[in-house]
Protein backbone atom coordinates (compact mmCIF):
# COMPACT_ATOMS: atom_id res chain seq x y z
CA UNK A 1 0.00 0.00 0.00
CA UNK A 2 1.47 3.31 -1.05
CA UNK A 3 1.75 6.22 1.34
CA UNK A 4 -0.87 8.18 -0.59
CA UNK A 5 -3.31 5.32 -0.43
CA UNK A 6 -2.66 4.90 3.28
CA UNK A 7 -3.26 8.60 3.87
CA UNK A 8 -6.49 8.34 1.92
CA UNK A 9 -7.74 5.46 4.04
CA UNK A 10 -6.81 7.31 7.23
CA UNK A 11 -8.74 10.35 6.06
CA UNK A 12 -11.81 8.23 5.33
CA UNK A 13 -11.52 6.48 8.69
CA UNK A 14 -11.37 9.76 10.59
CA UNK A 15 -14.25 11.17 8.55
CA UNK A 16 -16.49 8.18 9.28
CA UNK A 17 -15.44 8.14 12.91
CA UNK A 18 -16.48 11.77 13.16
CA UNK A 19 -19.83 11.05 11.48
CA UNK A 20 -20.67 7.81 13.24
CA UNK A 21 -19.20 8.30 16.72
CA UNK A 22 -22.20 10.30 17.99
CA UNK A 23 -24.55 7.60 16.71
CA UNK A 24 -22.44 4.95 18.44
CA UNK A 25 -22.59 7.01 21.63
CA UNK A 26 -26.36 7.09 21.42
CA UNK A 27 -26.52 3.31 20.96
CA UNK A 28 -24.17 2.78 23.91
CA UNK A 29 -26.15 5.21 26.07
CA UNK A 30 -29.37 3.36 25.38
CA UNK A 31 -27.94 0.50 27.48
CA UNK A 32 -26.76 2.87 30.26
CA UNK A 33 -28.47 2.59 33.63
CA UNK A 34 -27.65 6.24 34.46
CA UNK A 35 -30.67 8.52 34.44
CA UNK A 36 -29.05 11.44 32.64
CA UNK A 37 -28.46 11.51 28.92
CA UNK A 38 -25.79 11.85 27.68
CA UNK A 39 -23.98 10.80 30.83
CA UNK A 40 -21.10 8.69 32.13
CA UNK A 41 -21.63 4.97 31.66
CA UNK A 42 -22.64 3.26 34.87
CA UNK A 43 -23.83 -0.27 34.14
CA UNK A 44 -25.50 -2.16 31.30
CA UNK A 45 -29.26 -2.53 31.38
CA UNK A 46 -32.22 -3.14 29.11
CA UNK A 47 -34.35 -0.99 31.42
CA UNK A 48 -34.92 1.80 28.87
CA UNK A 49 -36.14 -0.63 26.21
CA UNK A 50 -38.56 -2.08 28.73
CA UNK A 51 -39.70 1.40 29.70
CA UNK A 52 -40.10 2.32 26.04
CA UNK A 53 -42.51 -0.54 25.45
CA UNK A 54 -44.54 0.50 28.53
CA UNK A 55 -44.71 4.09 27.33
CA UNK A 56 -48.06 4.54 25.55
CA UNK A 57 -47.07 7.78 23.88
CA UNK A 58 -43.99 6.22 22.26
CA UNK A 59 -45.88 3.10 21.20
CA UNK A 60 -48.65 5.12 19.56
CA UNK A 61 -46.06 7.35 17.90
CA UNK A 62 -44.27 4.32 16.47
CA UNK A 63 -47.52 3.04 14.97
CA UNK A 64 -48.35 6.48 13.57
CA UNK A 65 -44.87 6.92 12.11
CA UNK A 66 -44.89 3.48 10.50
CA UNK A 67 -48.30 4.11 9.00
CA UNK A 68 -47.45 7.61 7.74
CA UNK A 69 -44.10 6.45 6.31
CA UNK A 70 -45.64 3.43 4.57
CA UNK A 71 -48.50 5.49 3.15
CA UNK A 72 -46.29 8.40 2.02
CA UNK A 73 -43.64 6.10 0.53
CA UNK A 74 -46.27 3.97 -1.22
CA UNK A 75 -48.11 6.98 -2.59
CA UNK A 76 -44.92 8.72 -3.69
CA UNK A 77 -43.60 5.57 -5.36
CA UNK A 78 -46.83 5.04 -7.32
CA UNK A 79 -47.12 8.64 -8.47
CA UNK A 80 -43.38 8.82 -9.22
CA UNK A 81 -43.48 5.70 -11.35
CA UNK A 82 -46.05 7.15 -13.73
CA UNK A 83 -44.45 10.60 -13.69
CA UNK A 84 -41.00 9.10 -14.32
CA UNK A 85 -42.43 6.94 -17.11
CA UNK A 86 -43.88 9.98 -18.86
CA UNK A 87 -40.73 12.04 -18.34
CA UNK A 88 -38.40 9.33 -19.64
CA UNK A 89 -40.56 7.85 -22.39
CA UNK A 90 -42.22 10.81 -24.04
CA UNK A 91 -41.20 14.24 -25.16
CA UNK A 92 -43.88 16.85 -24.69
CA UNK A 93 -44.33 20.56 -24.21
CA UNK A 94 -43.53 21.61 -20.64
CA UNK A 95 -41.58 18.45 -19.87
CA UNK A 96 -38.68 20.31 -18.22
CA UNK A 97 -41.07 22.51 -16.27
CA UNK A 98 -42.91 19.44 -14.98
CA UNK A 99 -39.68 17.77 -13.93
CA UNK A 100 -38.50 20.91 -12.12
CA UNK A 101 -41.89 21.19 -10.41
CA UNK A 102 -41.79 17.60 -9.21
CA UNK A 103 -38.22 17.94 -7.93
CA UNK A 104 -39.05 21.36 -6.44
CA UNK A 105 -39.73 20.29 -2.82
CA UNK A 106 -36.04 19.40 -2.63
CA UNK A 107 -35.17 23.10 -2.75
CA UNK A 108 -37.75 24.41 -0.28
CA UNK A 109 -36.88 24.30 3.44
CA UNK A 110 -39.04 21.68 5.13
CA UNK A 111 -40.06 24.17 7.80
CA UNK A 112 -41.57 26.29 5.04
CA UNK A 113 -43.42 23.35 3.46
CA UNK A 114 -44.86 22.39 6.85
CA UNK A 115 -45.90 25.92 7.66
CA UNK A 116 -47.42 26.43 4.23
CA UNK A 117 -49.49 23.28 4.60
CA UNK A 118 -50.66 24.44 8.03
CA UNK A 119 -51.72 27.80 6.60
CA UNK A 120 -53.53 26.15 3.74
CA UNK A 121 -55.40 23.88 6.11
CA UNK A 122 -56.54 26.81 8.24
CA UNK A 123 -57.47 28.75 5.12
CA UNK A 124 -59.65 25.85 4.00
CA UNK A 125 -60.91 25.50 7.59
CA UNK A 126 -59.73 21.91 7.78
CA UNK A 127 -58.62 20.05 10.88
CA UNK A 128 -55.07 18.82 11.25
CA UNK A 129 -55.41 15.18 10.35
CA UNK A 130 -53.29 12.21 9.47
CA UNK A 131 -54.19 12.65 5.80
CA UNK A 132 -52.59 16.13 5.71
CA UNK A 133 -49.44 14.70 7.29
CA UNK A 134 -49.32 11.91 4.72
CA UNK A 135 -49.79 14.37 1.84
CA UNK A 136 -46.97 16.60 3.07
CA UNK A 137 -44.62 13.65 3.58
CA UNK A 138 -45.50 12.39 0.11
CA UNK A 139 -44.64 15.74 -1.46
CA UNK A 140 -41.37 15.83 0.47
CA UNK A 141 -40.17 12.32 -0.54
CA UNK A 142 -41.37 12.55 -4.17
CA UNK A 143 -38.10 14.04 -5.54
CA UNK A 144 -36.15 11.06 -4.21
CA UNK A 145 -38.49 8.38 -5.55
CA UNK A 146 -38.84 10.21 -8.86
CA UNK A 147 -35.08 10.45 -9.43
CA UNK A 148 -34.43 6.83 -8.51
CA UNK A 149 -37.21 5.49 -10.74
CA UNK A 150 -36.20 7.79 -13.62
CA UNK A 151 -32.67 6.41 -13.39
CA UNK A 152 -34.03 2.87 -13.53
CA UNK A 153 -36.28 3.65 -16.51
CA UNK A 154 -33.47 5.43 -18.38
CA UNK A 155 -31.83 2.01 -18.76
CA UNK A 156 -35.11 0.38 -19.85
CA UNK A 157 -35.43 -0.54 -23.55
CA UNK A 158 -38.93 0.59 -24.52
CA UNK A 159 -38.80 -1.74 -27.55
CA UNK A 160 -39.51 -4.46 -25.00
CA UNK A 161 -42.98 -3.02 -24.55
CA UNK A 162 -43.57 -3.14 -28.31
CA UNK A 163 -42.34 -6.73 -28.28
CA UNK A 164 -44.75 -7.60 -25.46
CA UNK A 165 -47.68 -5.94 -27.29
CA UNK A 166 -46.89 -7.81 -30.49
CA UNK A 167 -46.92 -11.07 -28.53
CA UNK A 168 -50.42 -10.37 -27.32
CA UNK A 169 -49.87 -8.56 -24.02
CA UNK A 170 -52.24 -5.71 -23.20
CA UNK A 171 -51.14 -2.51 -21.47
CA UNK A 172 -51.56 -3.88 -17.93
CA UNK A 173 -49.95 -7.22 -18.73
CA UNK A 174 -47.00 -5.44 -20.29
CA UNK A 175 -46.65 -3.22 -17.22
CA UNK A 176 -46.84 -6.22 -14.89
CA UNK A 177 -44.68 -8.72 -16.77
CA UNK A 178 -42.11 -6.44 -18.43
CA UNK A 179 -41.88 -2.82 -17.30
CA UNK A 180 -42.30 -3.20 -13.52
CA UNK A 181 -39.93 -6.16 -13.12
CA UNK A 182 -37.23 -4.36 -15.07
CA UNK A 183 -37.67 -1.08 -13.16
CA UNK A 184 -37.92 -2.99 -9.88
CA UNK A 185 -34.57 -1.93 -8.42
CA UNK A 186 -35.38 1.75 -8.76
CA UNK A 187 -38.91 1.30 -7.45
CA UNK A 188 -37.88 -0.66 -4.35
CA UNK A 189 -34.91 1.61 -3.65
CA UNK A 190 -37.20 4.63 -4.00
CA UNK A 191 -39.73 3.11 -1.61
CA UNK A 192 -37.06 2.29 0.99
CA UNK A 193 -35.51 5.76 0.88
CA UNK A 194 -38.91 7.41 1.00
CA UNK A 195 -40.00 5.27 3.95
CA UNK A 196 -36.88 6.07 5.97
CA UNK A 197 -36.92 9.78 5.10
CA UNK A 198 -40.54 10.03 6.17
CA UNK A 199 -40.06 7.93 9.30
CA UNK A 200 -37.28 10.09 10.73
CA UNK A 201 -38.68 13.45 9.59
CA UNK A 202 -39.25 16.07 12.26
CA UNK A 203 -39.66 19.56 10.67
CA UNK A 204 -42.69 18.69 8.53
CA UNK A 205 -44.43 16.78 11.27
CA UNK A 206 -43.92 19.48 13.92
CA UNK A 207 -46.58 21.69 12.37
CA UNK A 208 -49.05 19.06 11.37
CA UNK A 209 -49.48 16.77 14.33
CA UNK A 210 -51.62 16.86 17.43
CA UNK A 211 -51.45 14.63 20.49
CA UNK A 212 -53.16 11.75 18.69
CA UNK A 213 -51.15 11.93 15.46
CA UNK A 214 -47.70 12.73 16.85
CA UNK A 215 -44.97 10.84 15.01
CA UNK A 216 -42.01 9.24 16.73
CA UNK A 217 -39.55 12.11 16.07
CA UNK A 218 -42.11 14.62 17.36
CA UNK A 219 -42.67 12.62 20.55
CA UNK A 220 -38.91 12.23 21.03
CA UNK A 221 -38.42 15.94 20.51
CA UNK A 222 -41.05 16.98 23.03
CA UNK A 223 -39.90 14.31 25.48
CA UNK A 224 -36.38 15.75 25.39
CA UNK A 225 -37.72 19.21 26.07
CA UNK A 226 -39.06 18.13 29.44
CA UNK A 227 -36.86 15.23 30.50
CA UNK A 228 -33.43 13.98 29.61
CA UNK A 229 -32.84 10.28 30.13
CA UNK A 230 -31.66 7.41 27.88
CA UNK A 231 -35.24 6.54 26.87
CA UNK A 232 -34.83 8.61 23.69
CA UNK A 233 -31.51 6.88 23.06
CA UNK A 234 -33.35 3.55 23.14
CA UNK A 235 -35.96 4.89 20.73
CA UNK A 236 -33.26 6.22 18.40
CA UNK A 237 -31.39 2.91 18.50
CA UNK A 238 -34.56 1.07 17.57
CA UNK A 239 -35.08 3.45 14.63
CA UNK A 240 -31.56 2.85 13.31
CA UNK A 241 -31.88 -0.90 13.77
CA UNK A 242 -35.30 -0.83 12.12
CA UNK A 243 -34.06 1.11 9.10
CA UNK A 244 -31.08 -1.21 8.57
CA UNK A 245 -33.05 -4.43 8.94
CA UNK A 246 -35.86 -3.11 6.73
CA UNK A 247 -33.35 -2.32 3.97
CA UNK A 248 -31.62 -5.67 4.38
CA UNK A 249 -34.93 -7.51 4.23
CA UNK A 250 -35.90 -5.79 0.97
CA UNK A 251 -32.46 -6.48 -0.46
CA UNK A 252 -32.90 -10.13 0.35
CA UNK A 253 -36.42 -10.31 -1.05
CA UNK A 254 -35.69 -8.39 -4.25
CA UNK A 255 -32.08 -9.57 -4.66
CA UNK A 256 -30.24 -6.31 -5.18
CA UNK A 257 -27.75 -4.12 -3.33
CA UNK A 258 -28.62 -0.88 -1.56
CA UNK A 259 -26.22 -1.11 1.36
CA UNK A 260 -22.65 -1.30 0.05
Amino acid sequence: MSARRFAGWCFLAVLYLFLLAPAVMVVVDSFNSATSFPGPFESATLHWYGALFQHDEFLTAMRVSSFVAAAAAGLATCVSFFAAYALVRYSFRGKNALQAFLLGPLFVPQIVIGLAMLQMLSLLRLQIALSALIVVHTVYVMPFTLRLIMTALARFDFNLEDAAHSLGAGALETLWHVTLPLARTGIVAGFVFAFILSFVNLPLSLFLTNSRTATLPVVMFSYMESRIDPLVAAAATLMVAGAISFTMLLERVFRFRLLG
Binding site: D157, N159, D162, A163, S166, L167, G168, A169, L182
Partner: protein, 359 residues
Protein backbone atom coordinates in the same frame (compact mmCIF):
# COMPACT_ATOMS: atom_id res chain seq x y z
CA UNK B 1 -56.55 -11.89 -52.75
CA UNK B 2 -53.28 -10.76 -51.16
CA UNK B 3 -52.59 -11.91 -47.58
CA UNK B 4 -51.37 -8.47 -46.49
CA UNK B 5 -52.64 -5.39 -48.22
CA UNK B 6 -51.73 -1.81 -47.50
CA UNK B 7 -53.83 0.65 -49.44
CA UNK B 8 -53.12 4.37 -49.59
CA UNK B 9 -51.49 4.44 -46.16
CA UNK B 10 -50.32 7.90 -45.11
CA UNK B 11 -48.41 8.92 -42.01
CA UNK B 12 -47.24 12.34 -40.83
CA UNK B 13 -45.25 13.34 -37.78
CA UNK B 14 -45.94 16.95 -36.90
CA UNK B 15 -45.12 18.71 -40.16
CA UNK B 16 -43.03 15.90 -41.66
CA UNK B 17 -44.70 13.57 -44.12
CA UNK B 18 -43.06 10.17 -43.77
CA UNK B 19 -45.48 8.18 -45.89
CA UNK B 20 -47.43 10.26 -48.42
CA UNK B 21 -49.41 7.43 -50.02
CA UNK B 22 -48.23 3.86 -49.76
CA UNK B 23 -49.83 0.76 -51.22
CA UNK B 24 -48.34 -2.72 -51.07
CA UNK B 25 -49.61 -6.27 -51.49
CA UNK B 26 -47.94 -9.36 -50.09
CA UNK B 27 -49.18 -12.78 -51.20
CA UNK B 28 -49.75 -15.64 -48.77
CA UNK B 29 -46.56 -17.53 -47.96
CA UNK B 30 -44.41 -14.97 -49.69
CA UNK B 31 -41.22 -13.42 -48.34
CA UNK B 32 -41.34 -9.77 -49.30
CA UNK B 33 -38.33 -7.53 -48.72
CA UNK B 34 -38.88 -3.86 -48.19
CA UNK B 35 -35.65 -2.24 -49.32
CA UNK B 36 -34.68 1.39 -49.28
CA UNK B 37 -32.09 3.87 -48.07
CA UNK B 38 -32.24 4.98 -44.44
CA UNK B 39 -34.95 7.51 -43.82
CA UNK B 40 -37.12 6.29 -46.70
CA UNK B 41 -39.97 5.33 -44.36
CA UNK B 42 -39.55 1.57 -44.31
CA UNK B 43 -39.38 1.37 -40.52
CA UNK B 44 -42.49 3.53 -40.23
CA UNK B 45 -44.22 1.20 -42.67
CA UNK B 46 -43.26 -1.77 -40.49
CA UNK B 47 -44.48 -0.01 -37.34
CA UNK B 48 -47.78 0.79 -39.00
CA UNK B 49 -48.23 -2.84 -40.09
CA UNK B 50 -47.26 -4.00 -36.59
CA UNK B 51 -49.85 -1.70 -35.05
CA UNK B 52 -47.37 0.40 -33.07
CA UNK B 53 -48.37 3.48 -35.05
CA UNK B 54 -51.79 4.30 -36.43
CA UNK B 55 -51.82 5.57 -40.01
CA UNK B 56 -53.39 8.99 -40.61
CA UNK B 57 -55.34 7.54 -43.49
CA UNK B 58 -55.47 4.38 -45.56
CA UNK B 59 -56.31 0.77 -44.79
CA UNK B 60 -54.39 -2.32 -43.73
CA UNK B 61 -55.92 -5.71 -44.43
CA UNK B 62 -54.47 -8.94 -43.08
CA UNK B 63 -55.93 -12.30 -44.09
CA UNK B 64 -59.13 -10.69 -45.38
CA UNK B 65 -59.65 -8.71 -42.20
CA UNK B 66 -59.40 -4.96 -41.83
CA UNK B 67 -56.85 -4.58 -39.01
CA UNK B 68 -56.34 -0.82 -39.34
CA UNK B 69 -58.03 -0.11 -36.02
CA UNK B 70 -56.92 -3.32 -34.30
CA UNK B 71 -54.34 -2.85 -31.51
CA UNK B 72 -51.00 -4.57 -31.87
CA UNK B 73 -51.75 -7.28 -29.32
CA UNK B 74 -54.71 -8.51 -31.33
CA UNK B 75 -53.05 -8.64 -34.75
CA UNK B 76 -51.23 -11.95 -34.34
CA UNK B 77 -48.07 -10.61 -35.92
CA UNK B 78 -44.68 -12.00 -34.93
CA UNK B 79 -41.89 -9.43 -34.92
CA UNK B 80 -38.12 -9.80 -34.83
CA UNK B 81 -36.63 -6.49 -33.71
CA UNK B 82 -33.31 -5.06 -34.78
CA UNK B 83 -32.17 -5.08 -31.14
CA UNK B 84 -33.93 -8.47 -30.67
CA UNK B 85 -35.83 -6.96 -27.69
CA UNK B 86 -35.58 -10.19 -25.70
CA UNK B 87 -36.91 -9.85 -22.16
CA UNK B 88 -33.67 -9.75 -20.16
CA UNK B 89 -35.27 -10.97 -16.92
CA UNK B 90 -36.86 -14.04 -18.49
CA UNK B 91 -35.22 -17.29 -19.53
CA UNK B 92 -35.13 -18.43 -23.15
CA UNK B 93 -38.11 -20.72 -22.52
CA UNK B 94 -40.07 -17.90 -20.87
CA UNK B 95 -39.21 -15.52 -23.70
CA UNK B 96 -40.36 -17.94 -26.38
CA UNK B 97 -43.42 -18.90 -24.33
CA UNK B 98 -44.41 -15.29 -23.56
CA UNK B 99 -46.91 -15.00 -26.41
CA UNK B 100 -48.57 -18.29 -25.48
CA UNK B 101 -48.77 -17.28 -21.83
CA UNK B 102 -50.56 -14.10 -22.91
CA UNK B 103 -52.93 -16.30 -24.90
CA UNK B 104 -53.69 -18.28 -21.72
CA UNK B 105 -52.52 -21.54 -23.22
CA UNK B 106 -52.01 -24.48 -20.87
CA UNK B 107 -48.60 -25.19 -19.45
CA UNK B 108 -48.22 -28.39 -21.47
CA UNK B 109 -49.28 -26.74 -24.71
CA UNK B 110 -46.90 -23.82 -24.11
CA UNK B 111 -43.99 -26.13 -23.31
CA UNK B 112 -44.60 -28.08 -26.49
CA UNK B 113 -44.86 -24.99 -28.68
CA UNK B 114 -41.68 -23.57 -27.11
CA UNK B 115 -39.81 -26.80 -27.80
CA UNK B 116 -41.03 -26.93 -31.37
CA UNK B 117 -40.05 -23.31 -32.02
CA UNK B 118 -36.59 -23.74 -30.50
CA UNK B 119 -36.09 -26.94 -32.47
CA UNK B 120 -37.06 -25.14 -35.66
CA UNK B 121 -34.37 -22.51 -35.12
CA UNK B 122 -31.93 -25.28 -34.12
CA UNK B 123 -31.46 -23.99 -30.61
CA UNK B 124 -31.90 -26.65 -27.97
CA UNK B 125 -30.57 -27.15 -24.45
CA UNK B 126 -30.36 -23.42 -23.70
CA UNK B 127 -33.96 -23.06 -22.51
CA UNK B 128 -33.04 -22.22 -18.94
CA UNK B 129 -30.46 -19.59 -19.75
CA UNK B 130 -31.01 -15.86 -19.70
CA UNK B 131 -30.60 -13.89 -22.96
CA UNK B 132 -27.37 -12.23 -21.78
CA UNK B 133 -25.76 -15.66 -21.43
CA UNK B 134 -26.20 -16.29 -25.17
CA UNK B 135 -24.14 -15.20 -28.18
CA UNK B 136 -25.52 -12.67 -30.66
CA UNK B 137 -26.45 -15.39 -33.14
CA UNK B 138 -28.21 -17.42 -30.46
CA UNK B 139 -30.14 -14.35 -29.29
CA UNK B 140 -31.22 -13.81 -32.88
CA UNK B 141 -32.52 -17.39 -33.01
CA UNK B 142 -34.43 -16.92 -29.75
CA UNK B 143 -36.02 -13.74 -31.14
CA UNK B 144 -37.08 -15.66 -34.26
CA UNK B 145 -38.40 -18.57 -32.18
CA UNK B 146 -40.38 -16.19 -29.97
CA UNK B 147 -41.97 -14.56 -33.02
CA UNK B 148 -43.01 -17.85 -34.68
CA UNK B 149 -44.09 -19.64 -31.48
CA UNK B 150 -47.42 -17.79 -31.57
CA UNK B 151 -48.03 -19.11 -35.11
CA UNK B 152 -48.46 -15.56 -36.38
CA UNK B 153 -50.50 -14.56 -39.41
CA UNK B 154 -47.55 -12.45 -40.48
CA UNK B 155 -43.87 -12.28 -39.61
CA UNK B 156 -42.15 -8.89 -39.56
CA UNK B 157 -38.37 -8.65 -39.50
CA UNK B 158 -36.79 -5.26 -38.86
CA UNK B 159 -33.16 -5.24 -40.04
CA UNK B 160 -32.62 -8.43 -38.03
CA UNK B 161 -29.11 -9.10 -39.30
CA UNK B 162 -27.56 -5.67 -38.92
CA UNK B 163 -26.08 -6.37 -35.48
CA UNK B 164 -24.25 -9.53 -36.54
CA UNK B 165 -20.77 -9.83 -37.99
CA UNK B 166 -20.43 -10.67 -41.69
CA UNK B 167 -20.00 -14.44 -41.42
CA UNK B 168 -22.85 -14.91 -38.95
CA UNK B 169 -25.01 -12.66 -41.09
CA UNK B 170 -24.75 -15.02 -44.06
CA UNK B 171 -25.53 -17.99 -41.83
CA UNK B 172 -28.58 -16.34 -40.24
CA UNK B 173 -29.83 -15.20 -43.63
CA UNK B 174 -29.94 -18.79 -44.83
CA UNK B 175 -31.49 -19.75 -41.51
CA UNK B 176 -34.30 -17.20 -41.77
CA UNK B 177 -35.04 -18.33 -45.33
CA UNK B 178 -35.16 -21.99 -44.22
CA UNK B 179 -37.48 -21.27 -41.27
CA UNK B 180 -39.74 -19.15 -43.45
CA UNK B 181 -39.96 -21.89 -46.10
CA UNK B 182 -40.62 -24.56 -43.47
CA UNK B 183 -43.38 -22.66 -41.71
CA UNK B 184 -44.81 -20.95 -44.79
CA UNK B 185 -45.49 -17.80 -42.75
CA UNK B 186 -46.03 -14.72 -44.91
CA UNK B 187 -43.09 -12.47 -44.14
CA UNK B 188 -42.24 -8.81 -44.53
CA UNK B 189 -38.51 -8.22 -44.17
CA UNK B 190 -37.25 -4.65 -43.82
CA UNK B 191 -33.65 -3.95 -44.72
CA UNK B 192 -31.33 -1.38 -46.23
CA UNK B 193 -28.92 -4.09 -47.36
CA UNK B 194 -29.55 -4.97 -51.01
CA UNK B 195 -27.50 -8.18 -50.92
CA UNK B 196 -29.70 -9.41 -48.08
CA UNK B 197 -32.83 -8.48 -50.00
CA UNK B 198 -31.67 -10.02 -53.29
CA UNK B 199 -30.69 -13.24 -51.52
CA UNK B 200 -33.82 -13.63 -49.39
CA UNK B 201 -36.79 -12.21 -51.18
CA UNK B 202 -39.43 -13.85 -53.29
CA UNK B 203 -40.27 -10.33 -54.33
CA UNK B 204 -38.84 -7.05 -53.21
CA UNK B 205 -40.36 -3.60 -52.88
CA UNK B 206 -38.02 -0.68 -53.41
CA UNK B 207 -38.88 2.37 -51.32
CA UNK B 208 -37.80 5.95 -51.77
CA UNK B 209 -39.04 9.01 -49.90
CA UNK B 210 -42.05 7.23 -48.48
CA UNK B 211 -43.17 5.77 -51.80
CA UNK B 212 -42.88 2.31 -53.27
CA UNK B 213 -41.05 2.74 -56.54
CA UNK B 214 -41.06 -0.82 -57.87
CA UNK B 215 -42.20 -4.25 -56.71
CA UNK B 216 -40.74 -7.25 -58.50
CA UNK B 217 -38.60 -10.37 -58.21
CA UNK B 218 -34.93 -9.85 -57.30
CA UNK B 219 -33.81 -10.78 -60.83
CA UNK B 220 -36.15 -8.28 -62.46
CA UNK B 221 -35.30 -5.56 -59.95
CA UNK B 222 -31.62 -6.03 -60.76
CA UNK B 223 -31.86 -6.63 -64.50
CA UNK B 224 -34.95 -4.63 -65.41
CA UNK B 225 -35.24 -1.64 -63.09
CA UNK B 226 -38.36 0.31 -63.99
CA UNK B 227 -37.18 3.58 -62.54
CA UNK B 228 -33.83 5.44 -62.53
CA UNK B 229 -33.88 5.42 -58.70
CA UNK B 230 -34.06 1.62 -58.63
CA UNK B 231 -31.30 1.39 -61.22
CA UNK B 232 -29.00 3.63 -59.22
CA UNK B 233 -29.87 2.11 -55.84
CA UNK B 234 -29.41 -1.56 -56.74
CA UNK B 235 -25.96 -2.71 -57.72
CA UNK B 236 -23.46 -0.27 -59.10
CA UNK B 237 -24.87 1.32 -62.21
CA UNK B 238 -23.75 4.00 -64.62
CA UNK B 239 -26.53 6.40 -65.45
CA UNK B 240 -25.96 8.38 -68.63
CA UNK B 241 -28.39 11.10 -69.63
CA UNK B 242 -28.94 11.70 -73.32
CA UNK B 243 -31.35 12.06 -76.22
CA UNK B 244 -32.66 9.35 -78.57
CA UNK B 245 -31.15 9.86 -82.00
CA UNK B 246 -32.26 6.69 -83.80
CA UNK B 247 -34.77 3.85 -83.24
CA UNK B 248 -34.64 0.35 -84.73
CA UNK B 249 -37.23 -1.88 -83.10
CA UNK B 250 -36.25 -2.11 -79.44
CA UNK B 251 -32.70 -0.95 -80.14
CA UNK B 252 -32.05 2.73 -79.59
CA UNK B 253 -29.15 5.01 -80.26
CA UNK B 254 -28.68 7.63 -77.54
CA UNK B 255 -26.36 10.59 -77.77
CA UNK B 256 -25.08 12.38 -74.70
CA UNK B 257 -22.70 15.37 -74.81
CA UNK B 258 -19.63 13.16 -75.19
CA UNK B 259 -20.92 9.64 -75.90
CA UNK B 260 -22.89 7.56 -78.27
CA UNK B 261 -24.67 4.62 -76.70
CA UNK B 262 -26.70 1.73 -78.08
CA UNK B 263 -29.21 0.10 -75.78
CA UNK B 264 -32.65 -1.40 -75.39
CA UNK B 265 -35.85 0.42 -74.67
CA UNK B 266 -39.44 0.53 -75.81
CA UNK B 267 -41.81 3.28 -76.79
CA UNK B 268 -39.35 6.07 -77.40
CA UNK B 269 -39.36 8.48 -80.33
CA UNK B 270 -36.36 10.25 -81.75
CA UNK B 271 -35.64 13.30 -79.62
CA UNK B 272 -36.90 11.81 -76.31
CA UNK B 273 -34.87 12.63 -73.18
CA UNK B 274 -33.70 9.34 -71.67
CA UNK B 275 -31.33 7.77 -69.17
CA UNK B 276 -29.14 4.86 -70.26
CA UNK B 277 -28.28 2.41 -67.49
CA UNK B 278 -25.32 0.03 -67.59
CA UNK B 279 -24.18 -1.90 -64.50
CA UNK B 280 -20.50 -1.50 -63.78
CA UNK B 281 -19.77 -5.24 -64.05
CA UNK B 282 -21.36 -5.51 -67.54
CA UNK B 283 -18.52 -3.51 -69.11
CA UNK B 284 -15.31 -5.13 -70.33
CA UNK B 285 -12.17 -3.12 -70.79
CA UNK B 286 -10.04 -3.92 -73.82
CA UNK B 287 -7.09 -2.25 -75.43
CA UNK B 288 -8.52 -3.00 -78.90
CA UNK B 289 -12.10 -2.92 -80.18
CA UNK B 290 -13.65 -6.38 -79.69
CA UNK B 291 -15.24 -7.86 -82.83
CA UNK B 292 -18.12 -9.69 -81.15
CA UNK B 293 -20.80 -7.08 -81.77
CA UNK B 294 -20.27 -5.24 -78.47
CA UNK B 295 -20.72 -1.54 -78.46
CA UNK B 296 -17.52 0.34 -77.58
CA UNK B 297 -16.87 3.59 -75.80
CA UNK B 298 -13.34 5.01 -75.97
CA UNK B 299 -12.22 6.01 -72.47
CA UNK B 300 -9.14 6.95 -70.47
CA UNK B 301 -8.41 5.20 -67.16
CA UNK B 302 -8.53 7.83 -64.45
CA UNK B 303 -8.15 5.75 -61.30
CA UNK B 304 -8.38 2.18 -60.11
CA UNK B 305 -9.18 0.57 -56.79
CA UNK B 306 -8.42 -3.02 -55.79
CA UNK B 307 -11.55 -4.56 -54.21
CA UNK B 308 -10.44 -8.19 -53.90
CA UNK B 309 -12.89 -9.93 -56.20
CA UNK B 310 -12.87 -7.07 -58.67
CA UNK B 311 -10.78 -4.14 -59.78
CA UNK B 312 -12.82 -0.98 -59.96
CA UNK B 313 -11.82 1.48 -62.65
CA UNK B 314 -13.05 5.03 -62.99
CA UNK B 315 -12.88 5.83 -66.71
CA UNK B 316 -13.29 9.25 -68.24
CA UNK B 317 -14.78 10.26 -71.54
CA UNK B 318 -14.80 13.88 -72.66
CA UNK B 319 -17.73 14.82 -70.39
CA UNK B 320 -18.76 11.74 -68.37
CA UNK B 321 -17.24 9.28 -65.96
CA UNK B 322 -17.94 5.54 -66.04
CA UNK B 323 -17.44 3.12 -63.17
CA UNK B 324 -16.33 -0.28 -64.40
CA UNK B 325 -15.72 -3.43 -62.35
CA UNK B 326 -13.44 -6.04 -63.89
CA UNK B 327 -13.00 -9.44 -62.22
CA UNK B 328 -9.51 -9.95 -60.84
CA UNK B 329 -7.93 -13.07 -62.24
CA UNK B 330 -4.40 -14.23 -62.93
CA UNK B 331 -4.95 -13.91 -66.68
CA UNK B 332 -6.92 -10.71 -66.70
CA UNK B 333 -5.16 -7.76 -68.14
CA UNK B 334 -4.59 -4.87 -65.70
CA UNK B 335 -4.77 -1.37 -67.03
CA UNK B 336 -2.73 1.54 -65.80
CA UNK B 337 -3.89 5.06 -65.02
CA UNK B 338 -3.76 7.13 -68.19
CA UNK B 339 -4.25 4.17 -70.58
CA UNK B 340 -6.56 4.90 -73.51
CA UNK B 341 -8.81 1.82 -73.83
CA UNK B 342 -12.26 0.72 -74.96
CA UNK B 343 -15.16 0.08 -72.59
CA UNK B 344 -17.22 -2.59 -74.33
CA UNK B 345 -20.73 -3.82 -73.45
CA UNK B 346 -23.50 -5.75 -75.13
CA UNK B 347 -26.45 -3.53 -76.13
CA UNK B 348 -28.78 -5.97 -74.34
CA UNK B 349 -27.02 -5.03 -71.07
CA UNK B 350 -27.91 -1.38 -71.57
CA UNK B 351 -31.40 -0.40 -70.47
CA UNK B 352 -32.95 2.85 -71.63
CA UNK B 353 -35.48 4.53 -69.32
CA UNK B 354 -37.41 7.75 -69.69
CA UNK B 355 -35.61 10.63 -68.00
CA UNK B 356 -37.56 11.87 -65.02
CA UNK B 357 -36.34 15.38 -64.60
CA UNK B 358 -39.11 16.13 -62.16
CA UNK B 359 -37.57 13.87 -59.50
Amino acid sequence: MPHLELSHVAKHYDSTTVLPDLSLEVEAGELMCLLGPSGCGKTTTLRVVAGFEAPDSGKIRLANEDVTALPSQKRDIGIVFQSYALFPHLTVNENVGFGLKMRRRSRAETAQAVNEALKLVQLENVGHRLPRQLSGGQQQRVALARAIAIRPRLLLLDEPLSNLDAKLRDEMRTEIRRVQRTTGITTLFVTHDQIEALALADRMAIMDQGRIVQVDTPVNIYERPAHPFVASFIGQANLIRGTVSAVQGSLLRVVSPSLEIVGQGNGFLVGAAVIAIIKSERFRLASEKPLDGSHCIPVTIESRTYLGATMQYICATAAEKLTIAEPNGADNQKFEIGDAVFAAYRPSDCLILASEDKT
